[in-house]
Symmetry: C2
Subunit: 382 residues, 2 copies
């Protein structure tokens, strides 16, 4: 037992935070209505634009990603608005539940969990319902390990009058998302993912088209009212007390990300994901998703193995925190994240723990085979 | 200039965080769906009850205090509900704006800024409008430095059918608030005040009477839906990703507070406030509030002195961050906080900086006189 004394966090959020970003939180607290803090806000706002690939303001909220999703919805929709929602996992469901809570008229494009939406189907829905005001979808459906083709979806939505609202909470900076180039109208992200930060901050940006809707919405909101954030943004401040220690950490994390370069960060995630898939397949396991992506890899629990027990073993014996399935996938899949502060040996550790735990559970696995397959890919990242 | 090289944060939030609480944020990030983190949640939830002086659950939100105010409102009211709102400063105004944003029928008890509401007036409003469903008020109106008599107000409200909702965002643990004993129905607090934590967490508790309203409200909400927090609470978890690093810091801060004892924490604040008032008066300045309290002391800018310039001088030359007036009080008052991680010499520093800055601005002040008067009180706290 003493050999497995170090803990490794490989869940799709919160993710590990680099030591020098952790230490930023230990700095003395700054007051938020000061030129010093305004300077930090200005810097992080500019850096966030580079991550979002947009020229538009990126608002910073003190909330989890769900709060930012609500911010996106309440500021662009009105009661009774017809909206199209792609539901292919827990986070598509969240858009749906939220839209229902606010009395929107929901059209649901339901897809099998683990699959990605077809752009041509979205096109069909938009033509069948020309009064759809907004399309709500997800960059990376974390619950199934599936990436959606936002570029193609945006192309369809742009031909309609609707806006495209994308939950990029887990996907931002792990998967490519070119907000301005692709014409995405609202993008939502959160700190505890590829940003390598603790949870507690979330980010939202609106296109010019979506900005025109802000203030016209009749959905009630106060803490999440975008007009107040917009006004504050242009004075380098925030409408309510911001989470200052997390924003000071954000400055450091963004500087680390931009030193690497946003496209290099995405390429790193792509390579880690590819290596993980190779490792998992070499062990003899199957991927759950038909369109896997860079955030986390969802793996089917093989027949005869108790998924809940396997997960506990990996976490408790090997001290590697990966995730199980959520909702109806509980006990049926494992999800290995390669997200944020993740490098080659993190994949090696995850695959190694999986091999050993499977062997413990009586599954026939040749120890080292998965790791070897991953290494083949990882070496490309030298 | 080099003599004033240390910075002191004496604003009514965010407040300074003790070094050992700062360092807690530098610990490796924990995953939130783990027995270890559930154990921390369990511990802080129990400790929060002691601070709130309640047997009811205290929910922890990832938001600023304004978010928690919205949580209190959307879970207890319905569209068109008649509510009484005490407006005697910026935070009373916030309740009003929020109630209007959600379509409530607002009855406003407006008082002069700097004064406290009269319980008998609240009684009169409740008798005149027996259909009032809720009374919204504030424990400590930070914008004017005024404490409200919540105990007496609660006595009036209990004779009606209404619930009493108290914004104790700045007041909690600095001023006494006995939620259960006094019969307060909803209490809202926030991390960056007497809790000695960075901003980003807020706390809400509901009495049994208020809990019965939760779920019956027809106001839309999702991130702030109390039913989800209640369900999660009893499983030692949270509905959405919690701000884990701030909660780990909360554990430490609560242990520091409870080691001192909640009533000792309040007594400390009372003594610091009293010393500040004595110091300010000895300089020859007047208090702004007719009912000053323990969070911050609001001081009138004397005639002939430019309040904005004085504040800048205290901040920029003497490096002591106190606050000015908000809204219509900008330039008219200074607010010196004695909140959270504040002890005797913090008052000495604040009064000393005020004396020197006033002298710089040409105000006739006998240097040391204010500090001496403060010391008289501070010595009682030996």
């Amino acid at each position: 037992m003493v050999l497995f004394g170090k803990r490794y966090l490989m869940a799709p959020g919160p993710t590990a935070v680099p030591e020098d970003v952790l230490l930023e939180a230990a700095r003395p607290i700054m007051h938020h209505r000061t030129p010093d803090f305004s300077g930090i806000l200005w810097a992080v706002s500019n850096d966030l634009k580079k991550i979002f690939k947009t020229e538009q303001p990126v608002y910073i909220l003190a909330s989890s990603g769900t709060g930012a999703m609500e911010f996106a919805l309440v500021n662009t929709c009105s009661v009774g608005d017809k909206v199209l929602i792609v539901v292919g996992g827990k986070f598509g469901e969240r858009w749906f539940e939220m839209a229902r809570a606010y009395g929107l008229d929901t059209v649901v494009y339901e897809i099998e969990w683990g699959s990605a939406p077809l752009p041509e189907e979205i096109d069909r829905y938009l033509k069948e319902h020309p009064d759809i005001k907004a399309v709500f979808t997800t960059l990376f459906e974390t619950s199934t390990g599936t990436v959606y083709d936002i570029e193609a979806i945006a192309r369809c939505v742009q031909e309609s009058n609707a806006i495209l609202v994308v939950d990029a909470v887990s996907g931002m900076a792990a998967c490519d998302l070119q907000m301005d180039n692709w014409g995405v109208d609202v993008v939502v992200a959160s700190s505890q993912k590829a940003f390598m930060l603790p949870p507690g901050l979330s980010f939202v940006a609106f296109s010019e088209k979506a900005s025109k809707l802000v203030g016209k919405s009749d959905l009630p909101s106060y803490y999440f009212s975008a007009l107040d954030y917009k006004k504050a943004y242009f004075s380098n401040t925030t409408p309510y007390t911001p989470a200052v220690s997390l924003i000071v950490q954000l400055r450091k994390a963004l500087s680390v990300m931009l030193e690497e370069g946003i496209d290099n960060v995405i390429r790193r995630h792509a390579l880690l994901a590819e290596a993980t898939r190779m490792g998992v397949k070499a062990i003899g396991l199957e991927l759950f998703s038909s369109n896997p992506g860079n955030v986390c890899t969802a793996v089917k629990i093989p027949t005869g193995i108790d998924g809940v027990k396997l997960l506990s073993r990996i976490r408790d014996v090997y001290k590697v925190t990966i995730s199980g399935g959520q909702g109806k996938l509980k006990g049926k899949i494992l999800r290995i994240a390669h997200l944020g502060y993740a490098y080659a040996f993190d994949v090696v550790i995850a695959i190694s723990a999986l091999e050993m735990a499977l062997k413990d559970e009586g599954y026939p696995v040749e120890l080292g085979r998965g790791v070897g397959a991953a290494e083949l890919i990882l070496r490309e990242g030298k």
